[in-house]
């Protein structure tokens, strides 16, 4: 084995990792699992532990990229160089990068999850036989509704196990159509489209309209990735094979090796290679993300390449189903970190603590939370609003296909793989919050009698939802605004023309707003900006007042217009709050952030509450 010069190693054992973005080749949960198992290879033989976090503070940052991807060591397209990693240390040290022009799989071909059908969401089995013919991709053969399906065993004719493949005819992702399937043809900028398109977008994502007229209805969704017919390499990486296509005057309805000497399968990405010359390589076995990751993580822990061909740290890729660690690898890693900790004695399970939130504290974190700025849809195609987001996929499509390849299948979604949490618990599904406030270093987000919270100190792990009435029993479920007065730690809650003041567990109220000195014209308090020294700005739509938290009275003469003092923020805000010394003005799903410190009240950022404050996917 070899280590890096000077035995570079980590000097703490509880290492953290962050999956910064995802390849489209594999379902995200498969990618998460592959990385977790790759880390487990090393934690099994060392005292090291690996915990997943969601931010740049991680020791090991995992990234998919192509060509030059920011570190000065460019990838080289399909095959050849698969991935690389940096030895332990700060910054980019310890990070692992994977070439996304490779086809990432589990080493035995594309992994295509299925929906509905009768196979419990099992992935497709390629190749499979149907009516005696061999299929290496999803097909619509045998169906009249055009739905793509596959067998989940090698032989559909005998086993009859099947599922439906990701397809824009079955569902769409993100966008603003709640996962509804595409409608073909649809009209966009006056043109008719009968397939997904990247037109109107600069990020290359394929999208479609979910009604017949996008120009009129502005309803759209992104088309699921079809890894079974997406090409890699060539000059159309990421596009789909088009069958049939014409090559040297002959028609092909499957991938072919014709025309090549290296025996690799390819297809055209238009209907005529002879005229268009657009092509790419068809999916092959791909590279096992688990095996390559285990190797790269060896580097990230301090191991260099070995000359033992059978070892995991040998530089060449080779697929194996056996456990990948060789004794050479074990000797190397234990030279750096020693052996595993003695296993703790088995203990009886502990009882869960009384007050549990209604969902695990990392709700947002486990639902594809890390699609950072480098990936993910950026909004509808132009000329619509370029940034209109939606709350993301809402689970299995509601309408399933209604018949099987040769006869009617079971009606869905009896077996679709769905998320185990109630979507209502998912903070990422909330469009607009009733109120948002920083209370005790936690940013609280209130909605319909419940609230979520997170703190920077805990890596923005969202906790909740909790029930408002459990902590503040006197409160109604619908709130307009909330603020904590920093000196007294009193928490003011506003709803309609009423106010409650909590000091710890004791409450004063409800009282009417006129008790605070507001006139009858003030129907609600929509926000508050604590300014220190017991002074707070209280907002009601376009106006705000100075409020003295000690006397608990506003100065009626201090009424001012928002737009005069805070230029650039919307006037019909539904919430205003202070968070880490920045003022946030919320309207619809967006916030306008203003830095009040420098005395120049200038908008410094406009973004989404869910995507950027909560970092939802």
């Amino acid at each position: 084995f070899q280590t890096f010069e000077g035995d570079l190693k980590w000097h703490h054992q509880n290492l953290t990792y962050w999956i910064q973005n995802y390849s489209e080749d594999l379902p995200r949960n498969v990618i998460d699992d592959a990385f977790a198992r790759a880390f487990a290879v090393w934690s099994a033989v060392t005292p090291l532990t690996f915990t997943r976090v969601y931010g740049v503070e991680a020791d090991i940052i995992i990234q998919f990229g192509v060509r030059e991807h920011g570190d000065g060591y460019p990838f080289d397209g399909k095959d050849g160089l698969l991935a690389h990693a940096f030895p332990p240390g700060q910054g980019i040290q310890g990070d692992a990068h994977f070439d996304d022009e490779e086809l990432w799989s589990l080493g035995k071909g594309v992994v295509v999850p299925t929906f509905f059908g009768n196979a419990d969401g099992a992935p497709c089995h390629f190749p499979f036989t149907f009516e005696g013919r061999n299929y290496s991709a999803c097909t619509t053969d045998g169906r009249s509704d055009g739905q793509l399906w596959c067998s989940t065993t090698a032989d559909y004719d005998t086993d009859r196990r099947f599922g439906f493949c990701p397809s824009e005819r079955l569902y769409t992702e993100h966008g603003n159509s709640d996962g509804k399937p595409c409608v073909f043809p649809f009209t966009f900028e006056g043109r008719s489209y009968s397939a997904c398109t990247t037109d109107g977008r600069s990020d290359g994502y394929r999208w479609c309209a979910t009604t017949a007229n996008y120009d009129q209805d502005k309803l759209y969704g992104f088309c699921p990735t079809r890894v079974d017919t997406t090409v890699t390499g060539g000059n159309s990486a990421g596009e789909l094979c088009v069958f049939p296509f014409v090559f040297l005057g002959q028609e092909y309805s499957t991938c072919t090796r014709d025309g090549r000497t290296d025996g690799r399968l390819w297809c055209a990405t238009t209907s005529n290679f002879d005229s268009d010359k657009k092509w790419g390589f068809c999916p092959d076995q791909g590279y096992s993300l688990f095996l390559v990751a285990a190797h790269e993580f060896g580097h990230a822990l301090g191991l260099d390449h070995t000359s033992v061909p059978e070892a995991l740290m040998y530089p060449m890729y080779s697929y194996t189903e056996k456990p990948p660690l060789h004794e050479d690898d074990v000797k190397g890693i234990q030279h750096l970190y020693g052996g595993p900790r003695p296993k703790p004695e088995p203990r009886p399970p502990t009882t869960t603590p009384e007050t549990q939130p209604t969902a695990p504290p990392t709700v947002c974190a486990t639902v594809r939370p890390s699609e950072g700025p480098t990936a993910g849809p950026t909004g509808p195609p132009s000329p619509g609003p370029t940034n209109a987001p939606t709350a993301g996929p809402t689970g299995a499509p509601t309408a399933g296909p209604t018949d099987s390849p040769t006869r009617a299948p079971t009606a869905g979604p009896s077996v679709a793989p769905t998320e185990s949490l109630d979507p209502a618990d998912n903070v990422c599904n909330v469009d607009i919050f009733d109120a948002i406030a920083e209370i005790g270093n936690y940013l609280h987000l209130f909605k319909d009698g419940r609230y979520w919270r997170f703190s920077e100190a805990q890596g923005r792990l969202v906790q909740g939802p909790f029930l408002i009435r459990d902590k503040w029993p006197a409160l109604p479920s619908k709130l307009d605004s909330v603020f904590e007065e920093p000196q007294s730690k009193k928490i003011f809650f506003f709803s309609g023309r009423q106010v409650w003041v909590y000091t710890g567990a004791t409450v004063l109220g409800p009282r009417r707003l006129d008790k605070l000195g507001f006139g009858p014209e003030v129907a609600q308090v929509t926000g508050a900006l604590p300014r220190g020294g017991g002074k707070v700005l209280l907002f009601s739509r376009q106006n705000f007042w100075r409020f003295d938290a000690k006397s608990q009275m506003v100065d009626p003469k201090s009424a001012s217009r928002v737009d005069r003092t805070f230029p650039g923020v919307p006037t019909n805000m539904h919430d205003v709050f202070l968070y880490r010394d920045k003022a946030y003005f919320c309207q619809d799903r967006y916030y306008w952030r203003m830095n009040l410190q420098n005395g120049i009240n200038q908008v410094e950022e406009v973004n989404y509450v869910t995507y950027d404050l909560l970092q939802c996917p």
Partner: protein, 87 residues
């Protein structure tokens, strides 16, 4: 009996790799993975042979110092991008 059709081989646009000669492939590989420094290789066979020997030893290949088929196959194999030699 019909005569077997001679396969037509075409050059696919964007398929760069097929353009490199074996020697070019070797020089690029030896530099990329740390066996040679920039412009270290010159036309004399000695330096290439020396570098090949280092590579063959490192990768547990037969140490011939020649750009033989085994070595070329290794150079064409998918692999990790971390250099084998050097920092």
């Amino acid at each position: 009996a019909p005569r077997p059709r001679q396969p037509t081989v075409v050059v696919f646009p964007g398929d760069l790799r097929t353009d490199l000669t074996n020697k070019q492939l070797a020089e690029e590989y030896l530099y990329r993975y740390g066996y040679t420094q920039v412009a270290e290789l010159s036309d004399d066979k000695q330096s290439l042979s020396r570098a090949l020997r280092v590579l063959q030893k490192r990768l547990s290949l037969p140490e011939t110092g020649e750009l033989d088929s085994t070595t070329l196959a290794a150079m064409r194999a998918p692999r990790c991008g971390v250099p084998d030699v050097g920092r």
